[in-house]
């Protein structure tokens, strides 16, 4: 398995999805070696984790998102920066060296950063490669064309793949649209959520101001995620302006970091809602959990979201969700509010509606929690396992 990150060193949903999928597969008897571009202790015992990287890299400090440059601290204390393309080449070469001394039947690679390495292994060993697409470049570029160098890798790799896995129908359509791949080569395996993995909330919420203001009649809207173009946060702020006009006692909590951080802070000021919008920067652990819990409504306003795990996390922590129709998660979640990401008026309308109606929120959450409890990664693992079996049978034949 070729991947770019695993918790707790993940920048977002990709690492979590890889972790959960591998755990399910391992439980179904698949022997996995997961190759990462960095060395770290993940405390994972159900599979082998290997760092692909050169010996002199003792520690990698992950800064920002998976699509940023990386800072390496070398053993002698020097720091060096590599951009994502250098990084990808390094990984590819290291994986190729690694393969010389490894036995494996199948290569399963997650997202474009590992695709060149997968192609290299196919060339070296003529093994089947399964490419798992968690997002395509046009998703990450917020429905724009994106980086041509990345598109090139995706185009070639997806053509060469023996099997493609997409995390949603949304993503499958994007692969067909952007790269002309035939439908029958792409299988949709929705991400899921593992309820048992959730740490319990304690009685004292970290957002004391918000908890207190809720008692004063304020409604709290929450978003958790990277502050990047595909997540559509400027539209949420514009909707929030209308919400605040209609319902002044509304607060919006934005948890995350990313290249739009300062832009969003400035936009909130321009819209005149700085007093109502709280930015916390990137959070983990209790502050991350409590952010979901403190909300009256979770909003996922993504412009283009291959899957979108956060609404499920919100539901797990007791908060109903409003999600954009342009998200993969909307394919599997019914008991939630849905809106087109561009329809700011309707987004504002639904937020106000939900904040003003405890009955609506309770009903939404109750229904969605039922759906949530039926979700399981083992179904996803089973589908992937079937794909492996089919590939190996074809190989043998």
């Amino acid at each position: 398995m070729l991947g770019w990150e695993l918790p707790p060193y993940n920048s977002g949903g990709l690492g979590v999805a890889c972790y959960q999928l591998c755990k399910a597969l391992s439980g179904q008897g698949v022997d996995i070696e997961f190759v990462l571009p960095y060395l770290a202790d993940h405390e994972i015992d159900f599979m082998t984790i290997t760092a692909a990287h050169p010996q002199d890299v003792s520690q990698v400090i992950r800064t920002g998102i998976a699509y940023d440059s990386y800072k390496y601290v070398l053993e002698n204390g020097d720091e060096t920066w590599l951009n994502i393309h250098d990084q990808q080449r390094l990984y590819e070469d290291a994986v190729a060296r690694l393969a010389e001394e490894r036995e494996f039947d199948i290569v399963h690679a997650h997202d474009w950063l590992t695709f060149r390495a997968a192609l290299r292994l196919k060339a070296l060993r003529n093994c089947p490669i399964v490419l798992h697409v968690h997002s395509v470049e046009s998703d990450r570029a917020g429905s724009q064309h994106g980086n041509p160098a990345v598109r090139e890798i995706e185009a070639i790799a997806l053509q060469m793949a023996d099997q493609i896995v997409a995390v949603s129908r949304h993503t499958k359509r994007a692969i067909m649209r952007d790269y002309g791949i035939p439908s029958d080569k792409i299988k949709v395996v929705h991400n899921s959520i593992d309820a048992s993995r959730f740490a319990q909330l304690d009685s004292d919420n970290a957002y004391r101001y918000l908890s207190f203001m809720k008692q004063q009649g304020y409604g709290v809207v929450v978003n958790v995620g990277r502050l990047t173009i595909q997540k559509g946060l400027p539209n949420l702020l514009r909707a929030a302006q209308k919400v605040v006009a209609a319902r002044p006692k509304t607060l919006l909590l934005i948890v995350g970091s990313g290249e739009q951080y300062y832009e969003l802070i400035e936009l909130a000021a321009e819209l005149g809602i700085s007093a109502n919008v709280l930015f916390t920067d990137f959070q983990r652990g209790k502050r991350w959990r409590d952010a979901f819990a403190v909300g009256d409504l979770f909003v996922l306003p993504s412009v283009s979201e291959p899957f979108g795990l956060t609404p499920l996390e919100a539901i797990g922590y007791g908060t109903p969700a409003l999600i954009s129709k342009q998200s993969g998660v909307s394919e599997i979640l019914n008991n939630c509010l849905k809106v087109d990401y561009w329809d700011i008026d309707e987004m504002a309308n639904q937020i106000v509606g939900a904040l003003n109606s405890p009955a609506l929120r309770d009903e939404l959450w109750r229904g969605s929690y039922e759906e949530y409890q039926h979700l399981s990664w083992s179904t996803a693992g089973q589908k992937i396992n079937d794909i492996y079996g089919k590939q190996l049978t074809e190989m043998a034949a």
Partner: protein, 402 residues
Amino acid sequence: MRQAVALYLHVHQPYRIRHYTVFDSGTDHNYFDAAYEDRTSNEQILRKVVEKSYLPTNACLLKLLEENPEFRFSLSITGTIIEQLERWSPETLESFKRLTDTGRVEILGETYHHSLAFFYSRPEFETQVAMHAQKIQETFGQTPQVFRNTELAYNNDLAYWAEQAGYKGVLAEGWDPILGWRSPNYVYQPAYTDHIRLLMKNYRLSDDVAFRFGDHNWSEWPLTADKFAHWLSADGDATNINLFMDYETFGEHQWDDSGIFSFLENLPLEWMKTGGHGFMTLSEVIDAFEPVDRVDMPQTVTWADTERDLSAWLGNPMQATSINALYGLEEKIIGTGDWALIEDWRRLQTSDHFYYMCTKWFNDGDIHAYFSPYETPYEAHMNFMNVYRDLQFRLAEKGIEL
């Protein structure tokens, strides 16, 4: 005396907001006391400025006063810096008192908290001016006669207010679009007033010292006292040359190794070498010379940036929403009668907080960035808004409807 240099120095330090997050709102009401080693530690910054600027400058000025009976100057010193000196460096406050004890150092009136209250709330502004006058009386035994508004922010309304409040003079920037062909080196009268006088900063000569002194790329570098005295003499008809600048010019903006202290020590001697040249406090200038013309300034002019307006403090939406939100709480905060809460609210009015949020030329890392204890204007804004929300929290806790 035929020609006087009116030297006026401004002493101020704000209460900088510590790194204050969403998680502090509603939990921790301490906004201003950072750990000593933090960039935002007011105590650390004060001690640094005391060592680099206040103590050596006071020593230099005291020597000048003691050795030259003709030498005199004016000073403005905010309530927030007096408090900080009382708390962390009383010996420095004593050294300021030794200056004023000579009877040849005049202290000006201003707002206690170095705020822009004049533009947001007249009652609050008047309270802060009264608080400052009382503090100056208690500390230095003087009653201010001449008024300077925060950042030298001035317009016709301010002059009218100052006249009604009984001041004999008020200060403004000698900005060319206002003065036109006229020179700042005379006494003026503000439009629509009867007897108050207007003194305008000669920004070219002032900034030669305050900004350009240590600049090796400046064609006039190095600036010596005799050269500068020669420039001061260039306008033979001038009555008063108004050199207005920050106190921290000496030792902080211009470091000791630039030669600024020997410049300060020698300038008065060089200037007074010529007969008819002397020094006056601002009140003395007003008493000595008749106004030559009226000056009409309907729009607000300040001493900052090339725009000379309030845009360094209020020019972007982050600044505007922050200050509007803050003054929006006035009635509720004052209504509590809770002095700790009121004082926190007043400390947040200090103009520096809004200056730190300035994004003009942020990318160039210029003077704005140099004076900010925050990495970015956005961080300054977020800290401020988190504190603002804590004020709301404290009000709501008292059962006040927001």
